[in-house]
Each structure stands twice: as structure tokens, then as C-alpha cells.
Amino acid sequence: MDSQTQDYQEYYVPTQSYFPIVASVSLFFLAFGAGSVLTAAENTGDMGMIMLLTGFILLFFIIISWFSKVAAESRDGLYSAQMDVSFRWGMGWFISSEVMFFAAFFGALFYIRVFSVPWLAGEGDKGISNMLWEGFVNQWPLMTTPDPSLFKGPAQVVDPWHIPLLNTILLISSSLTLTLSHKALKLNNRTWTSIWLAVTVVLGAVFLYYQVLEYHEAYTELGLTLSAGIYGSTFFILTGFHGFHVTIGTIMLLCILVRVLEGEFSGKKHFAFEAVAWYWHFVDVVWVGLFIFVYIL
């Protein structure tokens, strides 16, 4: 065979880089610091907090420099079409792993509702466990836990048709505005790209504001807390991790907005934009699942 090198653009293999090792050190500080803070080990004193902070600062620094470096490499034309595909696959499978992370919590919710609570109340195959707390009744939302002296159930739960409905509308429209922005970018219309992108960021921020409001209300007025039995546990872990993802997503959108305003990306080449858009749509889909299974049903 002829050497088929003519139309092959070399795959870019970066030179040595200090990002990975510093990122690992930052994770070590975060993990060890968080561990020390949570266990409140006396001999570590403030060390835990200091380590945690160091970890955050290092991580922040690394994220900024790593992404800036990648953006710079992309601008310098080091990335071939093949590299673009690598990034696409990479982001796609990263989001898949995120899906499974949420699947673990949804799975827990379904198991609790279909098996453990009914069994504790004496229904179904393993209803014999009712002997542990006789008189415990199966209901959802679980307002009275099997042992209210340990876990006091919530007084009320969040009404899905107020803030959650509003938040659903906000997030779904944000997916829509993001798509409009993407369409504008494809047509190289930078004005509308930035406008729709900015609207998306605002919608995300407003969503987060309402989410905080809802949490505040849950804690202060409804008695719905992390320790309010299994309803509170599943409610907060699902909505909490979702909210965390929305926060990350909003920050990423903001970064993309800044890059758009700086004149980066072209109608043909804008994978960073697309990756963030994929992430945002994923977060949106998770919300729809939450709205249905956590709030309504």
C-alpha cells in the first residue's frame, strides 16, 4: 500500500503537563480536608478547613488553566477532525456516567416506594417486617416514619404546582433558548447567539434562585429536612444533586457566553458550545424525571 499520509492530519498528543498531578493533589486535599472536617477530628483542628480550602483553590486554578489550554490549542489549529470526534465521544460517555449516577438515586427512590415502605407497613411478600413497628402505615409522601422518635416526618411536602411547575417551565424554556442560540451560532449570527445564550444563563440562575427559595421554605415552614425520614432523604439527594448540576451547568454556560462575546467559535467549529449544550439538555431531562417522580407522583 502507498503510505497514506497525504490527507492525514497528525493526531495531537500534548507535551508534558502539570495539570493532572496538580488536579490529583487538589482531590487529595479536598477528600482529606472534607474527611477531617466531617469527623471533626480534634488533633487536626483547623487543618481540615485549611486543606479543604487549599483543595478548592487548586481545583479552581487547574480547571481554569486546563480549559484555557485546551481552548488555546484549539485556536492554534492543533486539533484535527479526529480529535473533534474524540472530544465528542468523551463528553457523550461522561454524560452517560452522570446518567447512571442519578439512576442510583432514582433506583433507591423506586425501591423505597415499591418495596421497603409497603413491606414495613405489612403489605406484600415481606410484610412480616411490620412486626418491627406495628401500626406503621404505607403512604407516600411518607409523613409519619416507622419510628418518629428517631426520624420525625415532614409536616407538609412541597406543592408541585407552584415553584416546581414554574421551575419546569423555566428549565424547558432554557433548553429552547439554548437551541435557538446554537442555531444562530451555526448561521454565524453572533448577536443572536449571545442574546439567546444570555437568556439561557438568566433562566438557569432564576431556576436556582427558586430552588433555594423552595429549600428555605421546606426547612423553615414545611418541616421537610434531610432528617425527615426517607421522603426528605430522597427528596433532597435527588433535587440537591440536580441543583448542583444546574449550578455547574450555569457556570459553564457563562464561560461559553464570555467566549462567544470574545469572538470565539465559528459556525462550523464550536464543540465547547455543543458539549455544554448537551450537558444542559441532560440536566433538563433529569429535571423532568424529578418533577414527575419526586414532586408529582
Partner: protein, 555 residues
Amino acid sequence: MTTGTEQVVEAEIETAEAGKNESFDGAIADTDKNESTTEHHHGPAKGISRWFFTTNHKDIGSMYLWFSLTMFMVGGCMALMIRTELFQPGLQFIQPDFFNQMTTMHGLIMVFGAVMPAFVGLANWMIPMMVGAPDMALPRLNNWSFWILPFAFSIMLMTLFMEGGGPNFGWTFYAPLSTTFAPPSVTYFIFAVHMMGISSIMGAINVIVTILNMRAPGMNMMKLPLFVWTWLITAFLLILVMPVLAGVVTMMLMDIHFGTSFFSAAGGGDPVLFQHIFWFFGHPEVYIMILPAFGIVSEIIPTFARKKLFGYSSMVYATSSIAFLSFIVWAHHMFTVGLPLAGELFFMFATMLIAVPTGVKVFNWVATMFRGSMTFETPMLFALAFVVLFSIGGFSGLMLAIAPADFQYHDTYFVVAHFHYVLVPGSIFSIMAATYYWLPKWTGNYYNEKMGKIHFWLSFIGINITFFPMHFVGLAGMPRRVPDYALQFADFNAVATVGAFLFGFSQLLFIYNVVCCIRKKNQASKQVWEGAHGLEWTLPSPAPYHSFTKPPKVD
């Protein structure tokens, strides 16, 4: 086709010749200095920074392998402490709580620190060479995946010295042992697991992207070497289950520190929920530790039988079926926990189904050897022992899969015997086979064959003496995870301890052989093994620092 098919793999490697005479530990020269002047094409950096900052798949692969060997030794010492205590009934050497910490840490270190990193190391070294790629697809991420591990395991090992001791709840960390009744160090353990999860997920993404996107022209999916195929499927398993592990340890963290009641029935949760989520991760996890081993054996047997692999495509489909089934069998670890009858039946039959694709594999290996011109070099010996001893582990697995019988076997030494048969002469032997098989390609030198064979026989005899008696004491009812036992189990336990020391110390021979192979010059040829096929054998030995900067053409 995998190694050894009628399809000729022809590689045009412009880069190949330059690095031929370079030594492994010296600077392997720029293999394509004539082609390119871009800055990223030079040999390894000097000094320690080479290892901290590297983006090279071979450097990273080596680090993974050395890390894994270190952890193998650490976990092995813990195993020997366990066996020492169990040499005689009664408490002689260590206290029960420390014994529990040893069983827990031994399991965690061997699973997450020894076996998994070893396979990732092999993937790093071999996959780019096997598919004709310049490197892994995302080199910096690759280095990050590695460097998280030493930090994660530092945290994990530090817990042993913390107040209240290290994790003592078994490597499966069932709630409420790991929540309500856990030592304070469990919090550090949880974060260490999070870190390992990040490492595994990024490593898996890298493997998938490399295989899907970096194949040389003409290397279509059904031409991939089987090691690459099995790793592709393993990587999918990792991506799908490591986040679930992260989820379950997060719920533990919440239960311990933030007042939730996921695993507390008093709040409406369920400790059994922990086991469901854990084993939804845990069962695919055990296939993560065996599928790459299948791939390795499928590379080695054809080479030394000098025949192409029998049933290449059926191997691919069997691997995929095993991966699929691994997601619907998890509750066979929980038969005695009080599952509804329908659950017991479903998980029993689904588990037994796995024997079908696994049987396909074993028969394919045997058929590959049938009427082949076999020779028995060290890698082949390990591969053969793998086929035989892994099958024994598979059969005891089938016994355990029968729910009513499992009520008897559950939590006895029979289970310990079962999973050690699939993990030690299964995964570990395959890793050793792979090391001997590819060592000449990595270092450029042949290892000492005689020493390799002695290592094999000592290991083979050692592990059988260690683990076979465990079947008997297990069937007779000796429970696992106890430092003391009834007198009637004394003889078999003494035998097992002797075997464990034999196996443990014979690994020093392995290390010695590897180190000698790196240092002594016993120049290996490009081909290394007469019957070997595949792109990695078209590169010189040692393989140049950058494998294929221009993709080879595969016909």
C-alpha cells in the same frame, strides 16, 4: 481475527526502525525526528518529572503496572496476616477488630488497587499499539486517571492508623456495619472510593474513545484483537457502574453525617437497599476484573498453539452477552437476605444463564488448542492454568447460583474459595501471563524463561494448596470473616496457610525476573514469539516511545 488469522496484518511503520537499538531505561530516541519538527515528538523527559507530567501511554501504563504490583504486595501481606492468624484455632497473633480491618483492606486493595489498575496498565500499554494509534485519545486525562490512585490509596491506608482503626466492615461495606456501627475513618474511606471512581470513569472513557476513534485505517471492529474487544466492553461496564458506587457511598455519607435514613428502616429506608445498589455495581465489577483476562488468554493461546483463535466472532458475542447479563444477576449475592420468591427464582436462573457464554469461551479456547502445535512457555502455562482453574471457579459459582443450595453455602469459606479461584488463578494469573507475554515487547529483552516456569509452578501449586481446602471447610460450615474457628477445621486451615505463604513468597521470584528483564540485555526480536500476530509485533522491541505517529494500514 485476533492474533493469528489468515488475514495478514501489514503495517507500514515509518517510525519503526529508529528506536530499535535503544535500551529501555535509557532515553528511547525520537523515533520520527525526520518526519516532524513539532514540539511534541520527542522522547521521554529526563528525571522524575517524566513520571509526574507524562502524557505518554507507555509511561502511564508502566506506572499503573508498578502501582498495581505495589498494591498487590501490600494486599498480599494483609492476606498473609489473615492466614497466619488462621493457621491455628484460637487467637494467637492479632485481635478480632484488626483481623476485620485486614480482611476489609485486603479485599479493597486487591480489587481496586491491584487487579483493576493492572488491567488499566495493560490497556494503556497495549491498546494504542494494537489498534495502530499514536497514543491514547486523551493523554492528559489519562495521566490524571493514574495519579488519582496513589492519593486515593494513601487516604485508604492512612485510615488504618486513625482513631478507631480502619474500615472493618468487609470490602462490601454493608450498611449498617458501614454506617451506624462504623469507625470514624469510614468518612475518609468514602472519599477515597469517590476518588477511585473518578479515576476509573476517566480511564474507561479514554479506553472507549481510543478504541472507537483511533483505530488505524482498515482496522474495523471485527478485526480488533480480542484483548481490545474485551477492554471495550469492560470500559462500558465501568462507565455504567462506577457512578452507581459513587451514589451508594454518597448515600452512606449522608446517613452518617447528615441525618438521612436511606439505610435505616426506622426512617422508612432499608439496609437491604444498600445491598441492592452495592451489588448492582458489584456484580458488573467482578466482570470488570475478568473480561480483560478473557481477552489476554484469547491472545496468548493462539500464539502458542500456533493456530488462529477458534470462533473469534462468537468470543465477541459471548463477551457482550456476559456484560449484558452482569446487570441482571446482582441479587444472587443476596439470596439469604430475605428476597421475595420471585426474586430468588429470577436471579437464580439469570445467573445460570451466564454459564452459557462462559462455556462458549472455554470451549473456544480448548478448540483453539486442539491439534495445534503447542509449546509451553511461561505465558502459555499461566493461560492454561487460567482455563482450568477459572473453570473450577466457574463451576463453584454455578453451585452458589442455586438459591436453595446457597442457603447452605452463603457466607462460608466455600464462597471464599469460589471467588479466589476466579480472581487469583483467574485475573491475577492472566495479568502475570500478560506480563510475561508482552514483557519482551516492553523492555526489549527476554525474561529468564526457566525462572518464569519455576514461578509458574510454585504459584500454581501454592494457590491450589491455599484455596482448594477452603471448599471443604466451607461445605462443612466454616463461616468467613472470623479470626477463630471450630477445631474440626484446623487441619485444612493449616494447609491453606502453608499454601498462602508459598504463593506469596514465590511472587518475589516474579519481581526479580521482571527487574532482571528490564536491566539485563537479552535482545528480543521484533516478533518475540514465533506464532504471535497483531500490530504490536510489527513494532521493534522495545516499542518506540511513540507507537504509530502515522497510522499503519491494515489490510
